[in-house]
Each structure stands twice: as C-alpha cells, then as structure tokens.
Amino acid sequence: MSTVIPKKRLASGLTVTQKVFVRSRNGGATKVVSEHYLRDDIPCYSKACTRCPEIVKPDANNQYPNFVLSDSPVYAEKYGHHYVVLDTNIVLLAIDLLENKDAFCDVIVPQTVLEEVRNRSFPIYTRLRALCKSDEKRFAVFHNEFSEDTFVSRLLNETINDRNDRAIRRCCDYFQKHLNQHRDKKVKQINVVFVCNDKKNRDAAAGAGIMADSLVDYVTNLPNGEDLLDFVPNMEDGPSFSHKKETKFPDYYTTARLMGGIKNGTLYQGSINISSYNFLEGTISVPSFKKPLIIMGRENLNRSFNGDQVVVELLPKSKWKTPSNEIVEEENMDANDNAEDGDSPNEIISDKERLFLLKEAQKASSEESSTRIQPTAKIVGITKRSWRFYVGQISENSVAKDSRTSNAARNCFVILMDRSLPKIRIRTRKAGELLGQRIVVAVDSWPSTSKYPEGHFVKSLGAIESVQAETEALLLEHSVEYKPFSKKVLECLPKEGHDWKVPTKLDGDEFIKKRKDFRDKLVCSIDPPGCVDIDDALHAKQLPDGNWEVGVHIADVTNFVKPNTPLDAEGAYRGTSVYLVDKRIDMLPELLGTDLCSLKPYVDRFAFSVIWTLDNDANIIDTNFHKSIIRSREAFSYERAQLRIDDASQQDDLTKGMRALLDLSIKLKQQRLDAGALNLASPEVKVHMDSETADPGEVEIKKLLATNSLVEEFMLLANISVAKKIYDAFPQTAMLRRHAAPPATNFEVLNEMLRVRKNMSISLDSSKALADSLDRCVDPQDPYFNTLLRIMATRCMMAAEYFPSGMFSYGEFRHYGLASEIYTHFTSPIRRYCDVVAHRQLAAAIGYESLDFSHRDKDKMELICKNINKRHRNAQFAGRASIEYYVGQVMKNNNNDTQEGYIIKVFSNGIVVLVPKFGIEGLIKLEVLGDANSAKFDDENFSLSFKDQNGDAKTISVFEHVNVQIKSVLDPATSKRKAQLVLV
C-alpha cells in the first residue's frame, strides 16, 4: 500500500486523488484504483452557519439542499448546546434509540459512518437514511470523505478501522472549528459531542480536544436522560448481564465452513419453522429430502428464532426422531427461571427438558413403525436473523414483588405474543410500571452463554386488553404499516379533493379522448353492506343476435396513482389494505379509496372496463378492454340485490340485466367446477359490533347468497381474461398469480386419519379428482363432517402467490384451486397493489399509455411480487388475529356456553378442538381432561384413552364430535384473552 497518493488540483475548484486498495477474490489479489474527488462546496447543514449557504450547489432537479441542523440545539449541562456526531457502533446497536423522538435531534452522520453501517447491515442503513429524510429528527449526512477539509489518507501500517476512526474524529474537529468560525454571531455557542462506545477512539478524541462520551454516559447527561436509559441497548460497555455459568450453546461454525458445507452438500440451508404447539421442535424443508428435517431440543435449535435462515447438519441415523406428539410450552418448562441473576440456578438444558427429549428418543427407538421416523438435524449456523420488533409483556414472575416500586435497573423477562419464540431478557428501570402493559421490544443479541436472547425496551402500547393496545400490537406483530399517510404522499392527490369531478368535456387531452363513454349502460355495483370502497360494477345487455354483452367495470385507480410518485411507492410498500374487525388500514389514502376511485352510484367515474360478448351458455365469443367513463345506477348490498332479483314485480331493464348476470354466473360456475375448481371452506366468522358502544356484540358465520357468487364469478372471469391479455403483451414481466398443486406429503396425515377413522380417502391426482373425492366424503350422521374436512384440506394446501411471468414456465402458471391455466388479480385496485400493476400493464397492452420501466423489468417485478406476497400473508394473519381477539371479547360477555366442537388433532397429552360456531380452535390439555397418568395414546388410531375427572374411562379420537364448554380466560403467559375449552 503506497502512502503518498498525488493530488491534482483541477480547474473547476476540485481536487482529484486516487483511492487505492487491494481486493482479494478467489484467492487472488487485485489492486483496485479509483478516482476520488475532493471538493470545497460541501455544506455543514447548520442553520447557524453564515458561510455554507453561499457555497451550496443545486442537484439534478435544481433543488438546493436543506439546512436541517437547528441553530439552537438541545442543551445539556455538561455539553452546552450541542450537535451529536455518531460513531458506527452506536448506529448499529442503538438505532431504536436514535429513532426516539425525545432524543437525538440535530445529529451529524459522517459519510464514513454511513458507509460502514451500509456494509454491516442494510436494514439499519435504510432506517438511518429514513431518519436523515425526516424533518423532525434533523439528521444530516456530512460527506467528510469528499470534503477537502476532512479527507484523511491512510497512513503506513494503519488499519482501515483506525483510519476510519481518525476520519470521524477529523470530522468532529472540523465541525467544531467551522461552527466557531462561521457561526452567526447572534447565535449561542454550539459544541460538537462525539458519541462512541469504543474507549480507544474516545481517548484519542479527548486527546485531540473533542468532547467524547459513551452512549450511556451521554444519555445520562441529557436533561431527560432518566426516561431514556431504558432504551439504551445492552452492549459491551454498557450495563451487561453476567454469565457465570460455563454451560453454553454450541458455537456456530465459521462462515467459511458453512459455505463449504453447503457447497459440497454436507450442510443444508433453509428457513426454520418452529411448531406452535411445541417450542422445542422445529422443521426445515430442504429440497434434497422429501420429508422436512426435524430439529429437536433447545441445544439443537441452537438459539434460532422462528423464520431465521439457518444452516443445519444432519445427525446420525441412530438419532433420528419422529415428530413429537406432545404439547410443550415454554412457560411450563422454565417457569422458575430467574431473570435477575443470569443463568446461575439452571443450566441451558433443564431437567424437565431432558426428560422430554429422553421420551422422544425412546419413542423413536421403540417404534415398530419406523416409517414415521424423519431425518433429524441440528443447527450449526444462522445466515440471516428474522429479528424485528416483537410485542409482548413483562412476565410477572420475573419481577420481584417488593422491588416493583423501586427505580433501580433490573433484568426481567418479556414473554412474546408469538408462542413459538423464546422469552427475551431486558433491563429496565420501569419494570413495575410496565407490568400489565403491552410493550414492544427489540432483540440485541443471543450470546452462546445465555439461555435467553437479550433485548431492550422500545415502547409501550398501553394496557393489556385495551382495544387500542391490542390492535396496535397485532398490526405491529404482522408488520402492517398503520401510520397515517405522509405529507408527501397526500400531495400527490388531486388538488380539488372531494370536489374533483370527471371532466364533462370529453375532447380534453389525448387520454380522455381514448376513453369510451359507457354512461348510457345500466351499471350497478353489488357489495357487502356498508361497503364504501367500491372496486367493481357490472352490467349486462342482450344484443340483437341473442348473445349477451356483459361488462365488468373496475375503479380506475391508476388514473390517480402514477408510477414513481411517493403515492405509488407507499402503495407498493403497503401492498394491500388490511381489514380488521373494527378498522380498515388503507393501502391508498381515503380520498381515493372511498371517493374519487370508488364507483359510487349516481356520479360519473373513470373506470377500466372488460366487455365480453357471451352466448347463452356463457361461452366467451369476444373480449375487449377499454378505459371508460361510467355512471353507476345503484349500489346494492348482496341481500338487496337478491331481493330485487327475486321480486317478480320488478321488470325494469336494470333488474333484467341483473337476472341475466345471475343466470350466466351460474353457468360459469358450473363450467369452473367441471374443470375441477375446488370448493374449500374456512371457518370464517364475522363479529357484529354494537353501533353505539362499539362493543363486540355477537359472532356469526358468514352467509353466502347467490349474489355473492354472481359477483365472484364475473370477477374471476375478468381476472382470467386480463391475465391472458397482459401475458400476451408482456411475456416476461406480466403480473400473475399462481397456486401450486399441493405435494402429496401434505395430505399424508389427513388421509391416514380418514382411512383409520372413517374408511374414506381423498385423491390428489388432480384438482378435479380432489374436488370429486371431497364431495364423496360425506358422513350421513353428521352433516358438518364434510365442511370440517374441507377446512382441514384447506390447511394442507399451498399458498397462492404473485409472480412475474418470466419466473416460471407456462405450465406452472396454473391456479390449482380455481382450475385456471392463468390468473391474475385485476378487480380490486383500491385495496391490492397487484391490481394496480395489472391495470398499468393492461393499459399499456391496449395502447392507452406507455408502461413504466419498473413494470417492464424482471428484477424489479420480482421485488414487487416478493413484497406483496409477504404483505398479503401478513394482512390475512392480522385479520384473523383481530377476529380472534374480538371473539375472545364476545366470550367474556357470554361465558360458559356449551357448544358443539370437533376434534381435529390428538396429541399424547392433549387434543385440539374446533368450534364451528365461533370459528375458534383450542387446545385442551390432558391435565384438564382427567387423570394424566392413566392416559394411553394410540397414534395409529389417532385416539387417546384416559380416565376423566369422575374416574370413568373414556376414549376420544380425531373427527369425533364433542360438546365443550367455552370459557374466556386471560392466558397467563401471553396475556391474550383466549377461549378456553372444557370438555363436558
């Protein structure tokens, strides 16, 4: 490494130097030389500065930089008015604290730090960049590497890290001097404080006359430091936990060994899925094995979290296990762990756990039916953590009663709402105060010497069971973005707001000229009652030749949501609207969703129309797509539409059209079912809210009317037609949706249960065979059995997914459930982003406008799909969790109901019962059922025999019909109100 690199002054006030470093790749060393320009026009971004506003230059859009740093920053006794310069380690460890709005305003982020953060963790980098953008936090990035005054060259024998540290210190020094020299004389003295957790660096800074402090000391010295200390994450310098015990988790393999192992096939990589019934058992699906690999026991799970990307090593065949039949909950296993004194009283593996593992091992070896044994593995490395914010509450046991009022910092456990995750140990001063509240925590690390991961407190959501806290908690848990739309997004909306109207003159700009005027068609919309975001409307008209003209009109959202605007970016990020029982989290701002786009009756609206010519048997003769203008004649609810159709006295054209639609839809449905479309079921319920008190009233199973299926059939038809069209136009990047056929292994257990218990079977040869065999499985004694089976079959299915057409070959586009060759989502652009993309692609395909680059690029489309798939899944989970919460609340009001239930799963120490009436399922543990010791589990027959509480022998098995008493209880571990079931 040469140390003297020549600098050359350029005419334009720039200096150019060279950056030289040696890069190693595949064992060889390459010398990389790149130019590095140093400049004198990088501003300090301080409002107090008199010089920098003179020298700034505009960017490509002719925007001048914003001077964000306040001229009267926060005051602390020790530091005076000051700006903060951050070191890399602070950003990496305490990004949550930096995001806190009560501290860390007016912060300077040197470019060196920004780049180091970027190399270390991209998510944190993104968050840091977001901070720099926000106006309230006043973070400024100072490009010290490009500034003539602060650039430092690497010295002989100096490591990169030392050079970077020196560059950061130089930056602090520059700022201090710059501020002293160029500060507006009317402004008070402003100091620069360097916050860094590296003692060596701090000492060097102090030597150079720079004020430097560690994060903890800095926060303590702030005026509101007391409240903030809790947010300071655990780190080396900070108050840490003591780990006296020598027992520990096995260390992870080195990266080189992991990469080598994956390459030569001795190690496998995958994402781990921890059972929600048994926190000691995880599975990983690996392409080279037909069955998923089992990972059992805390030591083999080796500090992994549910969803982490992990690397596993196969155990010898003698240690292979069968999947556990037992319910194991962490709370029972380690209830007595003490948060305060490290891990001293217990080792990582407790005796109880050993017992469990022993039992499993015995079972595996004694098993005559060795077919159920599955390959078993242990985790040897974690490539990507799935850590995010977690919601939970402080475990009551971990906070000693007498110390609840004291203000000293203490360790305590946080039990997370997600049962498959371990408890997290945090250190807080407010343990007493936080008891009984839903809190958000972040995980910092999981050292191999600690039984539990360590984290820190982020914020409190409110009291447990309060509607607001629970709603926010479930949104956070499913990473649903629920913040109000930002100013930038709202600025993209039409200026006229609610007064915006469809232009009356249709010879305006070229785009309006291209629209068809369908205002004379008798269009109406049919939606659930109270629906305000009306996506779709329909019409039908008989043509002179006896065929039918049928039109589906979809809200023209892309007329308002243009690509590459903040509004579009926000929509793409949210991906979908989320429907909770009492609340809707919109994908697009309300003005669009419920007014300008919504196809409300009696007003003109822009629409995107699909017009078919159908013959009397509902065969498609012709399909056309138009951007259009429509005027809906009426907005019906499903029930009112049904009444109108059934009312023979109504003979106007609109009603006739609706009747025709209903007829055609029945034929369409039959065509679909003949092709093998599945008719699956899910225990969906709806919670009625009391309109005055907003208390949940009663629970009802969703009813289906013929008009529901009317709308559904035409939406499916529109989606299929659009999918074909955009695939023709964009064979590589069309936005499509597929549903893969379920692998036979998914149905193995269900089929086995059916064979043993009911002497029935379901066939998986094709979707048609599956549909037919499901129809055959009817129990004459039990009309609900067929629905139950459909519910269970649904759970064995694969999830449908969005994808750009270039990702799969045509044969794999198939939508299994709908038995359609090709499919997309087009009909709900107000609440799904996929539809927005499909709209744009269709508009380009019919030559209405040119397609934005991002929808023509395969990589960009893959990113969009990945995000909306994730959002879609999360939205579904959030919706279900919301129903679960409200059903719990309803139970609270009418306790001790006796209801019918069905056993859907049998464990050796408990059963799972589904109650159709409320759509809930619950676990009944053996201890509650009766005498645990006398129980015998027969896993061949999926049945459990035991003596109940009265001492009578009883045998129960899967699919059996039972009566259960439903009680609403607050789960002591997760503090979720759940329905507890008791067999009667």
């Binding site: 790149s34 130019e35 590497e145 590459n564």
Partner: protein, 245 residues
C-alpha cells in the same frame, strides 16, 4: 460492489462528483512523432487512450480503394492489463468490432474524404487503462490525432457518455462502476453545434427521458471540445514559436 450508493440523496456520486461534473480531462497531441503522421493521448479520469493516425496513403489492397473518397480504417486495441482484472479480449470480440465500425462511420462523415480520393487513412487506437467511457475517450483521441495529422475535417467530434440513474436522475461522464449499474448513452457531437455525429445506446432508456439526457450530453461534449481546443491551440503556438526561432 453494488452495495454502494451510486448517487446519494445529498447529490454526490461514488467518487465525489456531482451529477453534471466531468472526470478530470487531460490530453496531448503529437505524442508519437516518428511512428505516425498524427498522434494523441487522452486521459478521462482513469481511462487512458492513445491514438496514432497514418495517411492519407496508398491503399494496401484494392478493396480499400475508392475512386471518389478516402477510406478510413480504425483499429482498436484494448490492452489486456487495462481493466481492473486482467482480461484478454480477442480482436474478433463483437463489442470491439462494433466500436470500430461506429468510429469508422462517424469519422468517414466528419473527415472531408472527397479531398483524398483513392487513399486510405489508418487509425490505430490503444486503450491503456479503463474506467468507463472507453468509446468516448477513443473518439476524442481520434479527433485530436486526425487534426494533428493535418487531415481536413469539417469540425471536431467530441464525445461523452451520460447515464440515467434510477430512471430519474441524469448523470454525466460515468466511471466503470456507474456504467455497470445504469443504462447509458454515448454521444459524439460535431464542433460547438448540437449535431450528433455518433450515438450509441446498448440498453433501454424511457423515451421521455431521452431529450433531457441528450441536452446534458451535448453540453458535456461541448465542454470537452473546449478543453481539446485549448490544448490544440497551446500546441499550435508551440509549433509556431519553434518554427520561428
């Protein structure tokens, strides 16, 4: 390397330039007096190019002879040590061939070929080091060498490339990291006019952005022209002063 910010929100590029700043540009003419009729050396950032012109001469084969015009042959040699990682490119490499064809076509239009019927002009270019924008550096060096050889031309051809970052921000004079990550346009401009003598686009650029890119490219190329003009005048003065003494 893609984990770098190609263009930061503060408006700075990877190497510290702003969006419309050129790489450091230096050039020399008449560098190989003995081996050629005209020669030049151009350095744009770390892209270093040398060019030698021989001619007009008697064509070596009849195939290169044209009764009305001079024929221009361009040879492009890219040294195997010129990129960051050593790589040998055969002469038959399609991209090199394409560049040679483009250069031949461009200069056949700019050189007043009808003044030299039945002759051949041979242009040899050598790329010694690459850091993006090879074609534009080569085109600039050919212009200088042709002028040095005293061959009649209508005007300068000055060349530059311009890329589009994130489909929204135009960026002038890309280095090799930037070239790898965005689609870009290489332009050759005739003199101080806005006439295009050369244009090459290998990827896609949205049509509505093209005009902005052209505008920025043209102003960049004109700046290059001024820099080359300055160097040529300096060289001319030197020649006059030595001739006078």
């Amino acid at each position: 390397m893609s984990n770098k910010e190609l263009y930061s929100p503060e408006g700075l590029r990877l190497d510290g330039r702003r969006w419309n700043e050129l790489k450091s540009f230096t050039c020399k003419v008449n560098t190989h007096q003995t081996s050629s009729d005209g020669s030049s050396y151009v350095q744009q950032g770390n892209t270093k190019v040398m060019c030698k012109v021989n001619g007009p001469l008697e064509p070596k084969s009849k195939a290169n002879s044209n009764n009305n015009n001079a024929s221009i042959t361009v040879n492009l040699n890219i040294a195997s040590f010129s990129p960051v990682e050593r790589r040998k490119r055969p002469k038959s490499d399609r991209r090199i061939k394409e560049m040679m064809t483009i250069l031949e076509k461009t200069f056949s239009e700019t050189v007043i070929t009808k003044l030299y019927p039945r002759t051949q002009i041979i242009v040899d270019c050598y790329v010694l080091s690459q850091d993006g924008g090879i074609l534009s550096a080569v085109a600039n060096s050919v212009t200088l060498a042709l002028i040095d050889a005293g061959i009649a031309m209508y005007d300068f051809v000055s060349s530059i490339n311009v890329g589009l970052y994130n489909n929204s921000i135009p960026i002038l004079d890309l280095n090799h990291l930037e070239e790898g990550d965005m689609s870009f346009l290489t332009l050759g401009i005739v003199g101080k006019s806005e006439k295009l003598a050369m244009m090459l686009l290998e990827e896609k650029i949205p049509f509505d952005k093209l005009e902005t890119l052209l505008g920025i490219g043209i102003s960049g190329a004109q700046r290059i022209k001024d820099l080359m003009d300055e160097e040529l005048r300096k060289h001319g003065k030197l020649l006059i002063s030595t001739a006078a003494s």
